[in-house]
């Protein structure tokens, strides 16, 4: 009986650990989207950190920072430019071995963020802290 309890306990711990592993935040890292507009090249870089903060850069210049969290494949994101109290939500579709991703807007009333995010393909360019 004691063994059964012990086994059950270990089983629960293992399942819990696995369930956390399933929900690992795949977004953590550096993601880049490059484009050319009116002959000028633009490089968008998004850095999603382990501590739940993110920054966006255009041609290496910081242009937005805020907080985010992932729940399964859904991104909840907010920043002071769009209103820090409001969260935009996006479905994040990863490709290959997490070598690229695309954001699909679920709901976001912040036009600037929506236009700069929705449908864009970002490639993984490295890890972040």
């Amino acid at each position: 009986m004691k063994k059964l309890y012990l086994f059950s306990f270990l089983f629960v711990v293992l399942c819990t650990a696995l369930s956390f592993a399933d929900d690992a935040n795949l977004l953590i890292g550096r993601w880049e989207h490059s484009t050319i507009s009116h002959g000028e090249s633009f490089n968008f870089l998004a850095v999603f950190r382990i501590n739940g903060t993110f920054d966006g850069f255009i041609n290496k210049k910081e242009f937005v920072s805020g907080v985010y969290h992932m729940k399964h494949d859904t991104l909840y994101i907010s920043d002071a430019t769009c209103n820090a109290q409001y969260q935009g939500t996006y479905k994040v579709e990863f490709y290959g071995l997490r070598d690229s991703l695309r954001f699909h807007v679920i709901q976001d009333t912040c036009k600037g963020r929506r236009e700069g995010t929705n449908g864009l393909l970002f490639k993984n360019v490295g890890a972040s802290r």
């Binding site: 000028e40 910081e62 920072s65």
Partner: protein, 324 residues
């Protein structure tokens, strides 16, 4: 006789070599040609004022006086903004009267209180200058004209991007020691209590909109700003939102240069009514005082200083010797 010939020959060789060394080489592209033009007073009626007379390189291509002096010491009416970080801008001048950098480039040349030279005369001068005639042909495959003059100047301005400040280092490289703890707190205030982010956002910390921060009262402050261009009452007192990169170097501040220091600017935003009591058409965002403590003001100022590109580190040290 032989010695004299050898001496003369040697001197001749030295002369030819030295002339070659000091010869103004033709620029290889429009930006290099633009740089040469930017610093050359050939584009002013008196031949004494260049773009760089007011857009001083060491001050992030801005001026240190409230308003700049043009030809014959004529006083301008607005503060000279920095000519840096123009690539992503969509409106130029404090009132946004130009919508492209190319349009912008020719306006100060023609302005009677700035360089006071018609574009036709400028083009004629360049066409009759041996160096420029050859340089324009090399770069544009044609003689100087208004179009390629504007292209050259704007190409140079587009090279004046700065994105290597301690702040960028902190955010981009996660270098926590790049900025002080005070600057980090200042960034948080900028985004929250200070409400600065409502207007100053994006890669250069400005928006494409025009806002009235309350520096128009119709009495002592009479520059109606954007309304000069649009003729709309709603635009009275509105000005282009100033970019904040390198702002620690670009004092004095605001369209009229009325604030000499960043601290004065912060004090104004903290409680505008204390400084301009009967402003007209002021943005409602400024109706409620921020209520910043002195410590918070210092933090905010330190954050703004952290936006100074590292190329100006020496200049910043001269201006703020006590800052680390």
């Amino acid at each position: 006789m032989k010695k004299l010939c050898i001496t003369l020959f040697t001197l001749g060789i030295i002369l030819v070599i030295s002339q070659g060394a000091f010869k103004d080489h033709e620029p290889v592209n429009a930006a290099a040609l633009g740089r040469k033009l930017f610093f050359d007073p050939i584009l002013s009626s008196t031949g004494k004022i260049s773009c760089a007379s007011c857009h001083k390189e060491e001050f992030a291509f801005s001026d240190t006086s409230a308003v700049s002096l043009g030809v014959h010491g004529r006083k301008g009416v607005r503060n000279t903004p920095s000519a840096m970080n123009m690539s992503l801008q969509v409106a130029f001048f404090w009132d946004g009267r130009a919508t492209t950098l190319e349009q912008q480039a020719l306006i100060p040349i023609q302005n009677p209180i700035e360089m006071d030279l018609s574009v036709n005369t400028a083009v004629w001068r360049l066409g009759h200058n041996k160096y420029y005639k050859s340089a324009f042909t090399a770069v544009f495959n044609e003689a100087p004209n208004a179009g390629n003059l504007a292209k050259a100047l704007s190409a140079f301005e587009r090279t004046l991007e700065t994105g290597n400040s301690p702040f960028d280092d902190w955010r981009l490289n996660d270098n926590e020691s790049a900025v002080s703890e005070s600057a980090k707190r200042g960034f948080a205030i900028f985004n929250s209590k200070g409400r600065c982010i409502q207007c100053h956002f994006g890669p250069d910390f400005n928006d494409v909109e025009f806002r009235s921060i309350g520096l128009y009262d119709g009495k002592t402050l009479r520059d109606s700003g954007r309304a000069c261009v649009t003729k709309k009452v709603a635009d009275v007192g509105r000005f282009k939102i100033g970019a904040l990169r390198n702002v620690a170097l670009t004092a004095p501040y605001m369209h009229n240069g009325m604030f000499k220091t960043l601290r004065q600017v912060i004090d104004y935003y903290n409680d505008p009514d204390k400084i301009v009591s009967h402003s007209i058409n002021r943005d409602t965002l400024l109706n409620i005082p921020m209520g910043l403590t002195e410590g918070e003001k210092t933090d905010l100022e330190n954050f703004l200083v952290s936006l100074t590109d590292k190329r100006f580190a020496g200049q910043l040290k001269k201006l703020r010797p006590l800052q680390r």
